[in-house]
Amino acid sequence: MSEALPARASARRPARQRRVRRDGAWPWLFVAPLALGVAVFYLWPIVQTAWYSLTTFGVFGGTTFSGLENYAEILSDPTLYRSLVNTLLYTAIVLLNIPIAVYLAALLNLPGLRFAAFYRVLYFLPYVAMPTAVAMVWRIIFNGDFGILNWVLGLAGIDGPYWISTPWASIVAVAVVGLWSSLGFSLIVLSAGLKNVPPELYEAAQLDGASRSRQFRSITVPLLTPSISFLAVVTVIAGFQLFDLLYAILGTTNPALPKSLSLVYYFYRAGFVDNDKGVAAATAMVILLLVGLATAVQFRLQRRWVHG
């Protein structure tokens, strides 16, 4: 067969080549608008940012090449590392939304659950709410003197801190809001994943006498691992981009701010407060690198624990 192939191929070449050319052009045409968008709005800015990160940028434009000067500046700045640690802490806490969402998704998927649609809407609402509006409401909840959170804690005899103006507490507070608002998205993804689990598996397990919790551990969770791993990747990327919640909840004159910066807030300060676009670009490149690294590591680890 392998010897016959070249001859056959050459015999049919004209017709086939025509078809290949035709097939080859159409798909490209269909993806062209998107590809163009990606090139113009994602790839080119990355190239531009990479260039700006090597320059000193004038207040109203005009660049001077300065080599690795900007990188040297931010990498020797303790605040950058503090921002990195804060970002990692935030991301770690927000990642906790996945186990909670897995449990809730399993509950919502129970056969015969009443008002299931209502619960789904309830959990999804925070995700579609405007971050600034969410932040305003939580700011009031976290208020140290008049907030409902400390009032509840007070009933239990606990003296709550000033959540948004105490350095360690502020990151935890913002992370709790992040966790709360990302729950809805995780639930949707996991519910979709659950729909793909064949009901026969549960029926067979029931016949074998497996309990609900055993079914959850041995069927639901393993078969959800592809969705879980997707969520883990997306959540980490979103975690590294923390800015709007932090900016809106903490405000710009918070005494806890210098110790509660995230990487993107650090970037914002460099670019739009200090007017140092070169340093901001360098920070952006560092964030890009870290996100790429985190994602690559996760893809590698997935092979070990993701089912099928």
């Binding site: 700045d77 000033y162 405000g251 007017n275």
Partner: protein, 442 residues
Amino acid sequence: MTTTTENTARPSAPSRRTALAGAASVGVLVTTAACGGGSSDGPAADTGYETPSADLKAKITYGLWDQTQVAGLQKNIDAFTAKYPGVEVALNVTPFSEYWTKLQTQASSDTLPDLFWMNGPNFQLYASNGKIAPLTGAIQAGAVDPGNYPSALVDLYSYDGVTYGVPKDFDTIGVWVNTDLFSRAGVPLPTAEWTWDEFQDTAVRISQALSAQGIYGAAGGMDGQTTYYNTIFEAGGEVIADGKSGYASTDSVAGLQFWTDLIAAGGSPSIQQLTDTTADQWFTSGKLAMYWGGSWFRAALTDTDLAGKVQVLPLPKGTAQVTVIHGVSNVVAAGTKNKQAAQALQVFLAGKEAQQQLGSAGTVIPAFNGTQGTFASSMPGTDLQLFLDAVDYSKPLPVSKNTAAWNALETDLLPDAFSGAKPVGEVASDLAQKMDKALAGE
């Protein structure tokens, strides 16, 4: 120029960066000059101003950030277009939080509005980079007389001896007083001639008397314009002088110490409490007896149940009596294609007729001397006149070319001084050092 507050251990980097920043700004100047954005001969030489004729034709945009002033400004513009029927003015309102980011982008791409609002902290950045047109021509032609406006504000909008704008409105600082809380605490209302000691004493007494209800006598906060800039000036100190930080001086430290003492004595909520609930919120919710606030705070009291029990007092006297003054001005983009029309509107808005119209709209104090009467009488029973009298002993809001950079340093470092976590003198000298570095980078 760095983003940080903790980078003290880098001896070699700053000098090189400074040199590079210097090179960069030369680059910018060369570029601007090449573009011929109206500043190619240096600011002073650009005196182009012609008294416009009534048949002037143009379409111009006017950029601003305060929606509540649009009604008043529209009256100004209607009066202007009655005079120049050929000129069409489009108002372009951007919320304050995005205004400066947007303006910076517009300036970088030479697409600034023809005429736009400018504030003190950002003024020098635009003036020194040749982005706004000097007012010299209009002043020489007699169309604008700087003598008609508070001189501290004319100075605020002058750079290198050249005036770029005259203020359209202004604000000064006073102490807003909740008289109801004074009588509940059994503390007599102070007189206008009060001192720092009397203020501290009054604040502590009210806090002690009403502590069971969570009420405080007075409040500090992280807003320099309404709090610590005033006390620094009153103690004889400086925030910035001759391009250098004034924070390290003993007088400035005394001005900061005022707030540390107030908090330590219990006269004010802590800095953390004031972050969760700002001083103006404490006051408007009836939990604060004395609030250091600007004349603009009047608008927040309209239609509240506080309105009848509010008085105002001048700031208590330190070694001197001072208040910070600030105001917004209208500036013309240096690169505008409709310079004549934009300048005509700038001149018109600065004039007495337009200023009187703005005053009767009631949201701000117009800057033209003698047109402020309507503001003073807008709150019967409350002596708003003192905000106008305060102009006589006012000092302009401290600014430099890149004010935002060292404002961020103040926000980062001063809380430790106010909370008593670190000695005030130590924080002040640390701040002065970092601020000097930021200023050198300008």
